[in-house]
């Protein structure tokens, strides 16, 4: 079974919020109606967003690192928000594992948002229904788009390619390889929700070079080494 998901590389994310704005732009313009805002230009603005980038400071000054942390629906393999829905408006697509809300069935009881430990469901105060990241379902399954564009808006917008998109059940996919080889992890693993989205951890990009590594002491092809010849060489031979 296919399980589409995002893999977000925290080592690469620079916290520019391009994924936030492109998400909002794409999803507020679609067939499902706007992601409504309330007082967008007023003193107390608020609105519906599927994706946010948060900042965390790790360590004690001056030895700190800033972690930019994009946060959207993780499309859990065991989504706790789905079984609690009384109407069946919340569902997980059997063909690609994307967790969605049927806005025409949702009664707006907000119970699913209580049942999500990650707080990634948003109640639209105007449409009065629960909304959430759809992984841009209207893009990724649209065969009229060229294949390179069948990706979520956030992935296409990311200037540093910190967001990878693919099938985490396919062991050879780009995302599976990234998870496997770069220490991909899930958020709040303690609840058994098995999030499909993974994060790649911060890792050191500096290497420490020891002096002996500069000379290839173990080189069997001694000719590659810089050799200072003494005595007679070919040039000295009189032809």
């Amino acid at each position: 079974m296919t399980q589409l998901a995002l893999v977000i590389d925290l080592n690469v994310c620079v916290g520019c919020h391009a994924c936030v704005t492109s998400c909002k732009e794409w999803n507020t313009s679609g067939w499902a109606g706007p992601l409504s805002d309330h007082h967008p230009y007023d003193a107390d603005p608020t609105g519906t967003f599927f994706n946010r980038v948060q900042m965390y400071e790790v360590g004690v000054y001056p030895n700190t690192e800033t972690v930019h942390f994009p946060k959207s629906c993780l499309h859990c393999e065991e989504p706790p928000c789905v079984p609690v829905c009384p109407t069946g408006a919340s569902y997980k697509r059997p063909d690609n594992g994307v967790v969605l809300v049927d806005y025409d069935k949702c009664i707006g009881c907000k119970y699913c948002s209580w049942a999500c430990p990650y707080g990634v469901r948003e109640f639209d105060e105007y449409q009065k229904v629960m909304k959430k990241c759809t992984l841009c379902i209207d893009r990724i399954i649209d065969t009229r788009l060229p294949e390179s564009e069948r990706k979520p808006a956030c992935v296409l917008a990311c200037p540093t390619s910190a967001r990878l998109f693919g099938d985490v059940h396919d062991p050879e996919s780009e995302v599976s390889v990234a998870i496997r080889e770069q220490g991909g992890y899930q958020l709040m693993p303690e609840w058994g929700t098995q999030p499909s989205n993974h994060y790649l951890p911060r890792r050191k990009v500096r290497i420490h070079i020891h002096a002996d590594e500069l000379v290839r002491a173990d080189n069997p092809l001694k000719r590659e080494d810089i050799v200072r010849e003494t005595g007679e060489t070919l040039d000295d031979v009189a032809w």
Binding site: H17, V20, D44, P45, T46, G47, T48, F49, R52, V53, Q54, M55, Y56, E57, V58, G59, V60, T66, V67, F69, K71, P80, P83, V84, C85, P86, T87, G88, A89, K105, C106, I107, G108, C109, K110, Y111, S113, W114, A115, C116, P117, Y118, G119, R121, E122, F123, Q127, K128, V129, Y185, Q186, L187, M188, P189, E190, W191, Y199, P201, R202
Partner: protein
Amino acid sequence: MHPAFSVIFLTTLIGVGQGLFLALFTGQIYDLATLLDVQLTPAFYSLGSLIALLFLVLGLVASFFHLGHPERAWRSIAQWRTSWLSREVLVLPLTLGLIALYGLFHFLGWTQPLFTLGEAVPVDATLIIGLAATLATFGLFLCTGMIYAGLKFLQEWHSPLTVVNFTLLGIASGFTLAAAISAWMNNGLLFFYGGWAVVAISLGLLGRGASLVRNGAIKHKSTLQSAIGVRHTRIQQKAMGFMGGSFNTREFFPGAGLPTLDRVRNGFLILAFPLPLILLAFSFLEQGPSILPLAAFGIQYLGLLAERWHFFAEARHPQNIYYQSVA
């Protein structure tokens, strides 16, 4: 969690209705076993059922204010296989219907024995309906409690105590109301219902006290480290990604500080338990019709509203970890 008044009224009002029905049916069972020295009148049964129905319907009305699309509420019966909320939506009208039938049969006097169990137990239609309604009532307590107790990462709620307390507090308020009706009708049942109310209130205090102690010492499984997956002892949020507030900052925070929570807790610990007990005790000393049990019920209900507010406000949702600093 942000305490929503619709849900506070829903859970407390249907609790009173369920408890009152259980009180009526307990009376009928005692009457059947001839353990009471007074007869329960059809007027008492039907009036009691009507009041129980009134509370249940008021609770149902309150619940609609919690919905974004009340006109679609009928859809919520669909997922009864997995959702306790869906089960509640099914069991609540069932309970309503059975209690209505129970009151109607008593009102119309259709209480001729259908058959006799053994030698001495005459079984009439109201007994059968009452038994079914009792099952439905306890089923409703279970569903309502499990809506909250079933959310495992809301650790303050994820405990059998949640279901037990919803049941005990509902029964306590229902029996207090039954005592109030009895005292007003002066039908000689004040001691019976008042006595059971004292027992139920005391058990409710034990159960709620136990949950307060449990929740005071709770160790939350989710931490900022597990939330963002960074292993470091010192992590600070510097920005939550927006400054204007959102659903995340409104729905999941109590909207009140710890001092307020403590004041509300102290308030309900006085209003819902000792004060009704004292008023009921005084009413036992009075002769003739008494208004004291009704006062006990009113004060107790105010206490239960505060209790339910605290129940919601006290629960700390793990998503709050992500929303600790605006900027």
